[in-house]
């Protein structure tokens, strides 16, 4: 039995998410066809403190906001961050 194909993703943390995780970015592998919501689940398992902020977390792929059902591609740069506070 072959293992399912995987994609490699970079996940970047911003603002206090970087303090909570202890890193600014991490590499994660996910099954091909994974959605942004599924990746968010994986990340919350790896960094349980992020799970507490799950509902208020904003998510972008590249430079654009995306929804949980956005399908990720190999090499995507995903950003996770708390509500923005410009101004």
């Amino acid at each position: 039995m072959q293992s399912k194909p995987h994609i490699k993703l970079t996940v970047r943390f911003w603002s206090y998410f970087a303090d909570v995780t202890g890193c600014r970015e991490t590499a994660i592998e996910a099954e091909a066809g994974s959605t942004l919501g599924q990746l968010h689940d994986l990340v919350c398992k790896q960094f349980p403190k992020l799970a507490e902020a799950r509902n208020s977390t904003l998510k972008a792929v590249g430079l654009d906001y995306q929804d949980d059902d956005f399908v990720l591609s190999d090499g995507d740069e995903v950003s996770l961050f708390p509500p923005v506070q410009g101004g």
Binding site: L63, V84, Q85, G86
Partner: protein, 130 residues
């Protein structure tokens, strides 16, 4: 619509920005907004705010907002400066200028721009208490 966007750790020089303004003869209204760091944040006295910006995405999101504004109001130009890094109390972290023929659209577009920025542009602040 002309736009000029600056994200920079340099202090915002409002006098120089005013001097650099160039508007066409049909324009009658210039609205500017300066957002200044206040001495208290969440009940605590602070000395400054450290602004973190995801620069590339912030620029992308500002450009999207500018495009929406252009489609909705007849605006000649927008200039926006957001300072990053440490901004002391009493100094501006944000400066916006909107130029239009008439004041209603200049005020509306300026307020819309700030509202949308606060929802979408990835910049965060960390108050410094010392």
């Amino acid at each position: 619509m002309k736009t000029k966007l600056t994200l920079s750790p340099d202090p915002i020089d409002e006098a120089a920005l005013a001097k650099a303004r160039s508007i066409s003869d049909g324009m009658g209204a210039v609205v500017t907004f300066s957002g200044v760091v206040r001495g208290r944040e969440n009940e605590a006295t602070i000395t400054s705010i450290d602004y973190e910006s995801f620069d590339d995405m912030a620029k992308r999101q500002f450009e999207l907002i500018f495009t929406e504004i252009e489609q909705r109001w007849p605006i000649e130009s927008i200039r926006l400066v957001h300072r990053t890094g440490i901004v002391p109390v009493n100094e501006p972290s944000l400066w916006v200028e909107v130029v239009a023929a008439h004041r209603a659209e200049a005020f509306d577009a300026c307020q819309h721009l700030i509202d949308q920025m606060k929802l979408r542009v990835p910049i965060w602040k960390k108050p410094i208490v010392t």
